[in-house]
């Protein structure tokens, strides 16, 4: 049994050598490899994958949700170009939370719970004036900005923002993801040890 395994490994090794050897030898072979092999850090490769497969949570609050659905659902703004068209309705499978609309005092704990249920790394886009700062509604009912109870990565202005604005926000978030070495906001803001048990 052991003997067989060893033999098959030898065969595979010989094959790999042959594939690389081909007609090239020495410096030519090295140049050939350099042309075709890309060296990168593991983090960078991981972030590249992450930014191109960012699944949003299917979650809408108010007017902005309509524009969010337009971004996802309208053939004019094809969100799958950015790898973010896979809407997950459970927070456990989602990477990105788009807070689309006004956050009422009654809704804030629910959103926080949804956020806590999402797995790291996770990102939050605050869409529209209401989510970012309560917008025009300066009254008793709303939380003035969802960054009061969860960390926000990108703010998209507008009332409601145009679909193009939200797409720009998503692209900005992707740039942020690929540019940063950290996994999520905790690493970026040096906030290790603040994890709460949901």
């Amino acid at each position: 049994m052991k003997r067989q395994k060893l033999d098959s490994m030898k065969v595979r090794g010989a094959r790999a050598q042959q594939m690389l050897r081909g007609d090239l030898e020495g410096e030519d072979l090295e140049a050939y490899v350099e042309e075709r092999v890309l060296l990168t850090k593991f983090h960078d490769a991981q972030n590249w994958a992450r930014k191109n497969a960012m699944w949003p949570l299917g979650f809408g609050l108010a007017c902005c949700a309509i524009e969010m659905i337009t971004v996802i659902g309208s053939p004019r703004n094809d969100l799958s170009r950015f790898g973010a068209e896979v809407i997950r309705f459970t927070p456990r499978q989602a990477d990105m939370l788009i807070i689309s609309g006004r956050v009422s005092v009654k809704m804030a704990p629910v959103i926080r719970r949804l956020y806590d249920q999402m797995l790291e790394p996770k990102w939050v886009i605050s869409m529209g004036a209401c989510a970012s700062s309560a917008g025009m509604f300066n009254n008793y009912a709303l939380v003035a900005g969802c960054d009061k109870f969860l960390p926000v990565d990108v703010y998209v202005p507008g009332c409601p923002p145009r679909p193009e604005a939200l797409m720009y926000g998503i692209i900005k978030l992707q740039e942020k993801v690929s540019g940063d070495e950290g996994l999520g906001w905790r690493e970026r803001y040096q906030a290790e040890g603040t994890e709460e048990v949901a």
Binding site: I66, E67, I69, S74, S104, C159
Partner: protein
């Protein structure tokens, strides 16, 4: 058996309620006879929402189920309560329009129209015919957009994902028109007290006619996709039926009432904004099930297209806003030459206009039913009270009647057929 329906929802929301029916076991074998006991006493209370893809917003349904059958359903609202009515009391009349538009965010033109018409009633202000026609054009386009979005999301709930793309695609054409006339896609603030904000730009009519021409073929596509679709029929036919008398008792209006056979439409019943000038029909259903509601809405889109076309044909020349300088801003070019215009402009922008004391209730037919604006004035520049009878709020009462006794899957279809917009429900 404990009175489950009478208990408060706080008690019942403790995830699982098991009624033991005395000391007997719930499921198992009867010791005396050896027969299997039916597990019918087991009730389970589950939460549907506030984060649930099929509740069209942040509606929470406290559902008590027995197996797959829904025995009790209670909608819990208030998750997007924005205090808009209260905020209106702090705003001058012409600034409050911006606030009321954000209530029912799929029919913003209707919110603005109801509020403006209520204020105009208090002011006894005449609205020019051109403005009335422009209002009709925009309201009917808004009705089309709203119904298209309804069919897109309601079909998505049942699994017809294609309808989402198609509905959004055609709704974008309407939003382009809104953008052309006002510069915004949503919450356009096009309607003013006394008329509309601005005349339609050149090219608007041509684009609208192109849309009217293109739309019937699109509606045929929808029909071809859904009308005889096996899944669509099985989910919709014969589900969610409520007798028309019960609907009236609950105060339900709009497509829900019309699908049950009652042709109540405020555009015909008490015409406002020159609706008596147009020739259109009110589609009604026969059975009042979810399928009828779908057909009624689709037929309403066709009727709305007819109204828009007639309004474009008969669009009269003239001013698009009242010439009363106490209510409407003077034209921009007058400010450079007329001192009086400058004073009026300054007064309107800083203080707003005063409305005589009194109260007015103006109902209009929104895509979801009777939308009424009740404005109370104490003679100042801000409304003393602005209250809205939102059709989504009233229609939502029919949820339990539609779903109780049915299956869990029918709840999703029932909610979709009501077409509640939670922004309008909670305000």
């Amino acid at each position: 058996m404990a009175d489950v329906k009478g208990a408060s929802y706080r008690e019942r929301e403790r995830s699982i309620t098991i009624d033991t029916a005395g000391d007997e076991p719930i499921i198992g074998t009867d010791v005396a006879t050896g027969a299997d006991l039916e597990p019918e006493h087991e009730l389970m209370t589950i939460n549907l929402g506030p984060h649930h893809p099929a509740t069209h917003g942040v509606l929470r349904l406290l559902t008590t189920i027995e197996g797959e059958t829904v025995t009790d359903i209670k909608p819990i609202i208030g998750y997007v309560h924005t205090g808009i009515e209260k905020s209106c009391e702090d705003q001058q009349y012409w600034k409050a329009i911006t606030f009321v538009e954000r209530m029912d965010y799929l029919s913003y033109y209707f919110n603005a129209a109801a509020f403006c018409m209520a204020v105009e009633t208090l002011l006894e202000e005449e609205v020019p015919t051109r403005a009335q026609y422009l209002r009709v054009i925009h309201m009917e386009l808004n009705r089309i957009a709203s119904h298209l979005f309804w069919i897109a999301t309601a079909a998505l709930d049942i699994g017809a994902v294609t309808m989402l793309w198609w509905g959004c695609r055609d709704r974008d054409m309407v939003l382009d028109l809104f953008e052309m006339s006002s510069g915004q896609r949503l919450h356009t603030r096009y309607f003013q007290v006394g008329g509309v904000f601005e005349d339609i730009p050149p090219g608007f009519e041509r684009k609208t006619r192109e849309f009217i021409e293109a739309m019937p073929a699109r509606l045929d596509q929808y029909s071809a996709l859904l009308d005889r679709n096996e899944i669509w029929l099985r989910r919709n036919k014969g589900t969610g039926i409520v007798p028309v008398e019960q609907l009236l008792e609950l105060g339900v209006t709009g497509p829900l009432l019309r699908a049950a056979g009652n042709p109540w439409d405020l555009r015909k019943a008490m015409p406002y904004s020159c609706y008596e000038d147009f020739d259109f029909r009110i589609p009604v259903g026969t059975v009042g099930d979810n399928y009828d509601r779908y057909r009624v809405r689709l037929a309403e889109v066709r009727e709305s297209l007819k109204i828009v076309e007639q309004a474009l044909d008969g669009l009269p020349e003239g001013p698009w806003i009242t010439s009363n300088r106490k209510v409407a801003l003077p034209p921009r070019h007058e400010l450079a030459t007329s001192m009086e215009a400058l004073i009026h402009h300054f007064k309107l922008v800083t203080e707003g206009f005063r409305v005589p004391p009194g109260e007015a209730y103006v109902p209009i037919e929104s895509p979801r039913g009777e939308l009424g604006a009740h404005v109370v004035s104490d003679g100042g520049t801000r409304p003393f009270r602005a209250h809205f009878r939102d059709p989504s709020f009233t229609n939502l009462q029919a949820t339990s009647v539609m779903s109780e006794g049915g299956m869990v899957a029918d709840v999703i279809v029932a909610i979709a057929s009501i077409d509640p917009v939670m922004g309008g429900v909670d305000r």
